[in-house]
Amino acid sequence: MSAINNNCEYISKKQIKIIFDGKTYQAYEGDTIASALLRNNIRLVGRSFKYHRPRGVYTCGIEEPNALVQILSEHNEPNTRATIKRVYDGMEIKSQNRWPSLKYDFGAVNNILSPIFSAGFYYKTFMGPKGFWKNLYEPLIRRSAGLGKPPKNFRSKSTHQYHNTDIVIIGAGLSGLAAAKKFINTKYKVLLIEQDSYLGGILKNSNKVKTINGLTPLEWINETEELILNSNNITILKNTLVTTYNFTNHLIALEDKFAGKKIDLNKSELTLHKIRTSNTIITNGHIERFISFRNNDLPGVMLASSFEKYIHRYGVVPETEPVIFTNNSSTLSLLKTLISLGCKPKAYVDSRKKDNIETEIKKFLKDKDISFFSDAEIEGCDGNKKVETITIRQGKSFTKLKSSMLCVSGGYNPDIHLFTQSKGLVKWDKNILSFKPDTPFQKTITLGSTSGNYNFKKICDEINEKISIFKTKKISLDINLNVPNKFSIKELWETKKKSNSNWSKSFIDLHNDVTTKDLKQAITEGFDRIEHLKRYTTNSMGTDQGKISSINSLAIVSKMLKKEISEVGTTTYRPPYAPLSFAAIAGRSTYEFYDPERKTSIHSWHLKNNAVFEDVGQWKRPWYFKASENETMHQAVQRESKMLRENAGILDGSTLGKIEIKGRDALEFMNLMYTNAFSKMKPMTSRYAMMLGEDGMIKDDGIICKINDQHFIATTTSSGAPKVLADMEEYLQTEWPHLQVYLNSITEQFSTFNISGPKTREIMMKVFPDIDFSNDAFPFMTFKNFDYKETKIRIMRASFTGELGYEIYIPPKFGLKLWEEIFSYGKEYNLIPYGTETMHLLRAEKGYIVIGQETDGTVTPIDLNYNWMIGKNKKDFIGKRSLSRPDTSREDRKQLVGLSPINKKDIIEEGQHIVELNELPKKITNPIKYLGHVSSGYHSPNLNHSIGLAMIRGGKNLLGQKFFVTATGKTKNIPVEIVNPVFIDPENKRLTS
């Protein structure tokens, strides 16, 4: 039975109610879920990962492998550590990994089937037959082996906070507080980070320390905290866990802003601190480890220091008559605690020889008349869903005791996680039987038990010495103890078991259900390297990262391999130190804040006119306009395309990238960057141009306007603009710094309208009555600047639809007004707005390519038959030399062609394959010869049949030939003819009309 420790200062006396698996329980404000459940004598809190074995609370902190729960009252937050999460009134909690209920769990049958779940079971059991993985094993594993379920409909308000500081102290226990004290009112900016809501660490979690400088531990903590709070240079962050230690002293810490409080949806519940520091002091202490024995996972088995922490930190004695099992000198304080509260342990089992046990301990046991077993060990424990009997082995004799709890101490590991994350090297210490920090890689200092110093009386000297590199005052600590000052331990990782049964297991990893037998089996099968063994058995791969057990497994493995532990080595410690919520990582970058939305100056008009939008990079572009509520996308696009070729249409092209190139050497630069030759080009004319990579492949295209030899304007694709500008900058800075050229992005400086169709000239003449739009005065691919009302505009004669067309550039401020004016004049000519989909269809009819559709980074201008664009007489341009490499000049490269269906009703789909077979075999046994793919496929309303652009091997020489195109869900292929990719107006009569 549990009892209350009324002396606990950290728990309020205010009673609250919590709900666990539908039942209401009393708790105190300040409790964790675990302490509240222990208070109510709840032992069974979850089922294990693989075997669904009953599990209880094993620890009292971040290292917990068992007690993971789902918080229903917090958007279903899964995998919450019950040993960390503070309760509040009305908190609703559900146990995890069980069905239909915790007591009667269906998956527990796995425990009986356990031979098939042994080491490497993921790799062995789920092999073949074909199809079983996808249809059977995977859904089964996902349902039964998953932990909690993900939260739903939760919008986090987590924020990020940045710090630049001189010193970070991680952990405010004895060493952390003492170190912080040295920095009070010095010139250093210090951040003291503590994961608990109280400072003090071991001083508040145990009674190992009796007094410091004549004060009780609590008095000393309060005095020190007061001094720190009054200092001008130290900031304390509580409820904050350092999870990550990166290169160049970059730390990440997670702060829980609502520890012990109900989340306020209007406030940020988590803060992710990103800290850049000059020096880091790690004082986050140690973690107790367990010992493997038969059924060491039964609810009721708990680490000894955790048991002690529940008494001191949470005021709950989980069991008044437990059995204590230890291999070291640290458990005396637990004994003393229990006795001081009037509780009496059933037995004290110490694996050390009687002569090696401190007189202090032996005397206390004798004085208090506690049943004492030395040179003994726990053989195992038994019970139905909880510990009921405990078997002690002493020599050849066995003693069976009845008790519901067993406190285990297998020694302490310095918490080296963050130190090794920082790339510091660790070394095996024979005195404490654990790894401890040795050589730091960064400016990192470890103090106290983190550095392997378990001697309280030497902590002061260590701090004064290691912190002497900073200008600080000396401090002194006079410490009185309740435990032997010198830590002593006997090596013990696993006890010998007497009986063998299928149900009895000796665990090495509680979280992932790995037994010591699995380790042996893996080694037998040849997985004797620790990194392999870890992955094969999944040992220490749980969310607790084997905090209480990974060193034990190294020790057991090293014994089996007959090697030193330092030879076996540790597996790599990787961030985060403990799981952190994705919500915290994402911070405010979620939903509409994830990526900016860019809208053109015409956006409001598009909205009013029923535009459906498409995302192009960050831009919102009208995809098509709905003429009526019921009009489908296909209908809209067919209508827009037909109307444009009959009358006129206008596209908001403001998103097209625009770069201004100016300077003495602008002409030379443009000649180097683009394939085209610009030298002979007349001023105020424009040209379609291509930019290649050095490998000869097309990167981007656009229209280049030449104002004069020192001034060009280049347009780019909507999404390619930043990359083109960056590439131009790169060449200017690194390869041709001698060129005097200046680049400027002017994309947002202009609203751009593309108006085209046979009636365009008439509309333009109405809108701009003073301008001569005749073919002679304003020929194709020329541009002019005009004064227009109170601003200036540039008009270029160009077209991407194949019809007569103009591009109008106007400052965005005047854009919407001009757009509306064009429509007021355009009405009588049936001018329509059109979107990107119609633009794509019309350009496909004309055989114009789109970057990223016909090209994919493996296409040269020659592959597209665009040889005319290549300035062959130019000495050099980016990618030129690659165009004559053997591979780029191959005859059988994929080349651009047009596709026309032989049966005009057939539909050519984008992305389909071009093959020689009219029908695919029912069962495909040999690879089918593949000639190429359909890069664009549309139904042309102007030809009234489907058309396609395709990239086909050796396509240039296949004109007029018949092939087949595959179709979705069919084995019968579509017969097509290879044709010229220009379907409409190959003579360019419309373009130049």
Partner: protein, 116 residues
């Protein structure tokens, strides 16, 4: 997340920069005079050593300037930064710097945490 010292702006977070691969690969003056093999090596071949590496960086979310850096790819330490028009520092300048975090072999991963 390492700290990088832009020669123009000073120390900034890595997230402000983009890496540009190996430095001192100069674009040939007369590409047409190069054999296919030599040109192919210029376009496609780059070193990827474990250890000292001369590489290019651009302060893309800052001053947008390109510069060079000497980085030990094994320790991720940036040993020197210099402007594009500055002389390439000699390899011998870095002889006495830390070779790897844990003294692991010259080839292969560096996931060793235990001091030998």
């Amino acid at each position: 997340m390492i700290l990088i010292k832009c020669p123009y702006c000073g120390e900034r977070d890595q997230s402000e920069f983009s890496n540009g691969g190996e430095a001192h690969v100069i674009r040939p003056k007369n590409p047409e005079s190069l054999s296919d093999k030599d040109w192919g090596e210029y376009v496609f071949y780059r070193n990827n050593p474990k250890g000292i590496f001369y590489e290019r960086w651009v302060h893309s979310h800052g001053c947008k300037k390109w510069f060079n850096a000497v980085r030990n790819t094994s320790t991720d330490q940036i040993l020197k930064v210099y402007k594009v028009n500055e002389k390439r520092p000699d390899l011998s300048d870095f002889e006495n710097t830390l070779k790897s975090p844990s003294g692991e072999p010259l080839v292969g991963s560096g996931n060793f945490a235990v001091k030998k």
